[in-house]
């Protein structure tokens, strides 16, 4: 292979060099932030700094930042909070979310529904965007929580979270957004969006894996969810994970200070790849939106009818290009991407979907390389296919 091109940044990102050296060089790394002695206090001040960086990044209150193991834990926790409230007799006993959420939400919803909780999934339109009129019908006086992701991991489609939050609040419900994919790609302000809870993960924006945040606006329902210590305001016990928390703090600082340039750079690469694919490969389907205001800048989801996604992924991998696919074969299930199917895509088109997701370490040369290698691969797979144009 002539080049190594990582285009799976929505899956996970490479830790930024600045983050790696920040963790590596930090001399408070081994201190227990709960200890009163000097190294402990140094670690504590590092944790406090990181909490402040997260708060600045999302325009929130430092006291609302709870470090978790990642957005999956954060999402699970929000649903648990409301499950407990419902169990305790809360009159509002319905939760509303959407058909295109991340599995960390979708699977939690399935689990809760199986236990008898009332949860509705709002449908989406052809680009995977929530249909607001449908959302309005689902949110009622009995709604406890509305949970809608900010940017979709597969298609990049940005949801009208602010509008939905207004609907939720008008009916007296709380609003949660899973902002995992949006963080570091578009500006995110919990105040502008007017959300009560927000989830994010460090590894999606050049921080370490295994660390994330649950942001809970001060005053909203929140109860201890890991018992056994005073950490995280008593909400989540466990010795502070210094390296991860320092790392996510540094990543937050980088994201906050480079968001505008990063957004424009990612969008330019995404658009160059999209246009190049449309020029060079016949019969392709772009999934999601090509409107800059409706799509996360680094995400391009394309279907290649008559070619199957796993084959495309593996032929690209042999050329050093790493992508992901919504094909069933790659997911290990029998169904292709539920996100694409929920957006009304035919099954065959969903099987042939490939997601290219750009990040901080990609360049325009990567786009050129993909445009050189991809067309013959698609042609080759289509020539092998039982399905002809």
């Amino acid at each position: 292979m002539d080049r190594y091109v990582y285009l799976d940044n929505n899956g996970t990102t490479r830790m930024a060099d600045e983050v790696v050296s920040f963790i590596h060089d930090n001399d408070a790394l081994y201190g227990n932030a709960s200890s009163m002695h000097s190294i402990g206090r140094q670690a504590s001040s590092g944790i406090d700094w990181a909490r402040g960086e997260i708060a600045s990044l999302i325009d929130g209150d430092k006291s609302g930042v709870v470090f978790t193991s990642g957005a999956s834990e954060s999402n699970n926790t929000v649903f648990s909070i409301f499950r407990d409230l419902i169990d305790e007799g809360e009159k509002r006993d319905r939760i509303v979310t959407t058909t295109v959420e991340h599995p960390a939400t979708i699977e939690t919803v399935k689990y809760l529904k199986a236990k008898g909780y009332r949860i509705d999934l709002c449908p989406v339109d052809r680009i995977g965007r929530v249909i607001l009129s449908e959302m309005e019908k689902l949110i009622g006086d009995d709604t406890a929580l509305v949970s809608v992701m900010l940017g979709n991991n597969e298609t990049g489609t940005i949801q009208p979270v602010r509008e939905i939050a207004a609907m939720a609040h008008a009916k007296g419900a709380y609003m949660h957004t899973d902002a995992t994919q949006a963080i570091g790609k578009i500006p995110v302000s919990v105040k502008d969006l007017d959300v009560d809870y927000l989830s994010l993960s460090g590894h999606k924006f050049y921080g370490p894996k295994g660390v994330g945040v649950l942001y809970a606006r001060p005053g909203v329902p929140l109860a201890p969810f890991v018992h056994g210590g005073h950490q995280e305001g008593g909400m989540r016990a466990g010795t502070y994970n210094n390296q991860a928390i320092f790392g996510i703090g540094k990543a937050a600082e980088l994201a906050r200070t480079s968001i505008k340039e990063e957004h424009d750079r990612l969008w330019a690469m995404r658009e160059a790849l999209r246009k190049g694919i449309e020029e060079r490969i016949p019969d392709v389907v772009i999934n999601g939106s090509n409107d800059e205001s409706l799509c996360l800048p680094g995400t391009l989801n394309v279907s290649f009818p008559r070619a199957e996604g796993e084959s495309i992924l593996l032929y690209l991998d042999l050329e050093g290009i790493e992508v992901s696919t919504g094909s069933a074969c790659a997911t290990g299930s029998l169904e292709p991407s539920y996100v694409l199917l929920a957006s009304g895509l035919p099954v065959e088109i969903a099987h042939g979907s490939v997601r290219f997701s750009f990040g901080r370490y990609n360049t325009m040369e990567d786009v050129d390389y993909v445009l050189e290698k991809l067309p013959p691969i698609i042609e080759r797979i289509r020539n092998m296919s039982t399905r002809k144009a």
């Binding site: 199957e308 084959s311 074969c329 099987h351 039982t386």
Partner: protein, 202 residues
């Protein structure tokens, strides 16, 4: 810097057949098949078409097309190598296990949906026999009895599903009487039914 070895997703044999598929049916190629068979569905994400040329009761040449993942492409390619030169009877008895073994194994979840080459080959042989007015004795020879009380075979279930005669368990029971005596076969019947519903995209 420390690093780990990255194994490929599948065996080296699968990789070889994926990268260099054998006996592929190339567009515009001068290949007149004596029999053609097609199985699989787009819903499942895998579909195979097999064409065979027959001479003196043996498979002289075989060509195939596959819409599907790497293991689907590799397993059809491997099937073509195994089948060429075989008598129709031997070719008819190629099993998914034989293809999978020759590939050095496949992940469990890939086995059912992607190894369909043997079924496409049987369909091509059936087609050849039918085109030439030859009585098809092979078909019944590969049937497995699933419901012993009522003598219901996997092939009966396959035919009913393929030809849209049966869409669920109740209809299958109505059509065959399966599971109406001892009832022990119920879970196996369900497995077979679900697999064929899936394979034929019903």
């Amino acid at each position: 810097m420390a690093s780990f070895m990255a194994d490929w997703v599948y065996t080296d044999t699968v990789k070889d057949h994926f990268m260099n598929p054998r006996n592929l049916w190339k567009e515009g190629e001068d290949f007149e098949p004596d029999g053609v068979g097609e199985v699989g569905s787009l819903a499942c994400g895998d579909q195979m078409r097999v064409g065979i040329q027959v001479e003196n009761g043996r498979i002289k040449a075989l060509r195939w097309l596959t819409y599907g993942c790497a293991s689907a492409i590799a397993s059809t390619s491997m099937m073509s190598e195994i089948a060429i030169g075989m008598t129709l009877e031997d070719a008819y008895h190629i099993t998914p296990e034989k293809i999978t073994d020759a590939l050095g194994g496949l992940p469990e979840h890939k086995f059912h949906c992607s190894v369909l080459g043997d079924k496409a080959l049987r369909a091509a042989i059936d087609d050849y026999l039918e085109r030439n007015g030859i009585e098809n004795k092979l078909k019944s020879s590969t049937a497995k009895v699933i419901c012993e009380c009522r003598g219901v075979t996997d092939q009966m279930i396959e035919d009913l599903v393929k030809n849209d005669k049966v869409r669920n368990f109740d209809e299958l029971q109505e059509a065959t009487g399966c599971c109406t005596a001892c009832g022990k076969c119920r879970s196996r019947i369900m497995d077979e039914l679900n697999e064929f519903l899936h394979i034929y995209g019903k």
